[in-house]
Structures are given as C-alpha cells and as structure tokens.
C-alpha cells in the first residue's frame, strides 16, 4: 500500500497514519514523521517551496520503492507540500507501517533522509520584514544522513 502526494494543501497526518493500520491485525508498528516550518526565532515569515511537477512524485515513488526492497513494509504514505508556508505549518510527512518496530523506524528515517536530498523541492526563506532572504542552502549533514543508507548524491 503506497500513497504519495505532492500538493499545496495541508494534510491530516493523524488520519494518514491511522489509515495504514485501520482494519488490519498484521501491523505491529507505525512510525510517522511530520516536518514543520519553523520561525527561526521570529526572523522567518514564511517559506516558499518550489518543486518540479511530475518529477517530484516520480522521485518520491522511487525512494519509497527503494525502502520497500529493504524492509518488510505493509504500507507507506509520503506527502510533501509546495507553495508559501507560514511558521508552524506542516511541510512534509512520511508514515511507515510494518510488523515490527525496527523496520518502521528505519524506513521512516531513510525516507526522510532521501526525500531531503533527492526529491526536487527547493525552499526560499521570506524574512519577517518582507524581504527575500534567498534560497535555503543544502546542508552537508543532510547528504551525510542520506549517505548512511548507501545513497549516492543524485
């Protein structure tokens, strides 16, 4: 069971996570990650997220397919938003369901590490004073996190 969405609208992370186990008795564990827009100590007014339509969905599919080859997953949901997001807003979620907790944890963490470095999204920071701070720079630590799973740089 795979659900992948790239959308401007908000999502109900709770309902998405619950859907993975609803009416099933083989799911032993779900791990749900939600990433939020932070205000960076009050300096950030919003994030503008640009994406590559078509490729964003396709790349997330590939990342999920990769996770499915590594762990026995019963279901995976991945949703990434684009457009202007205010501090406190949800940006991204992944949820993984498995028979066992170690697989669910590992899959959710790998999915996030891969999404950060492989999915075609770019963030721009809008300052509290209305000016554009410019494009958020990719972090070495994100590439390092992805490399833990054997990911080459795309």
């Amino acid at each position: 069971m795979r659900k992948i969405r790239v959308q401007a609208e908000d999502f109900d992370a709770a309902a998405e996570a619950r859907a993975l186990s609803l009416g099933r008795a083989d799911v032993g564990a779900t791990v749900t990650f939600v990433g939020y827009c932070r205000d960076e100590g009050g300096t950030l007014a919003a994030l503008e997220i640009e994406h590559y339509p078509g490729m964003a969905e396709a790349e997330i599919e590939r990342v999920v397919a990769e996770a499915e080859t590594r762990w026995p997953l019963i279901g995976v949901t991945a949703i990434h938003r684009f457009g202007r997001l205010a501090p406190g807003a949800q940006i991204v979620m992944v949820a993984a369901a498995s028979g066992h907790r170690a697989a669910a944890f590992a899959a959710a963490e790998m999915l996030m590490d891969y999404l950060k470095t492989r999915a075609p999204f770019w963030k721009q920071a809008i300052r509290a004073d209305g000016t554009r701070e410019g494009w958020v720079e990719a972090k070495d630590e994100d590439a390092d996190s992805a490399a833990r799973w054997g990911a080459a740089e795309p």
Partner: protein, 83 residues
Amino acid sequence: MKAVYFAWVRERIGKSEEEISPPAEVVTVGDLIAWLAGRGEGYAYAFEKASVIRAAIDRVHVKHHAHIADGREIAFFPPMTGG
C-alpha cells in the same frame, strides 16, 4: 529538446523553460552545461559553478557524464532542499 530550470538556476537564466537545439558535439550533460553557459550573461551566472548544478533527464537524476542522447526534457537545478 526541452530545457527546464528551477530555483536560482531559473532566476539567473530568467526563464523556467525553453526549447534548445545543441550542436552534435554536445554529448553529455556536462557538455550541455558548458554550451548553455556560453549563451549569455544569465546563463553564465547560473552555470558559473558547474559542479554544484544537478541535472535530470526525463525526470530522473543523472550525473554530468551522462549522455543526453534521446532525452526529451532536461532539467537543471541547485541541490535540493525539500523535506
């Protein structure tokens, strides 16, 4: 083929997509970046540090040594910052 640009690559070039017809000696993604960089000031600025530029052919990530071959859509963009 169609070239598409994202984030600051798009901003520097000043357009989000265009049809391009590179000459036959442009074989790899790296060749195409060098060829595009010679097309004007915005292009030169966008591709000034070619090594940081990421590329995708028909919506799949590719390295600079990849052949552009029969690609219909080639994309150039900075390292991704989603998630």
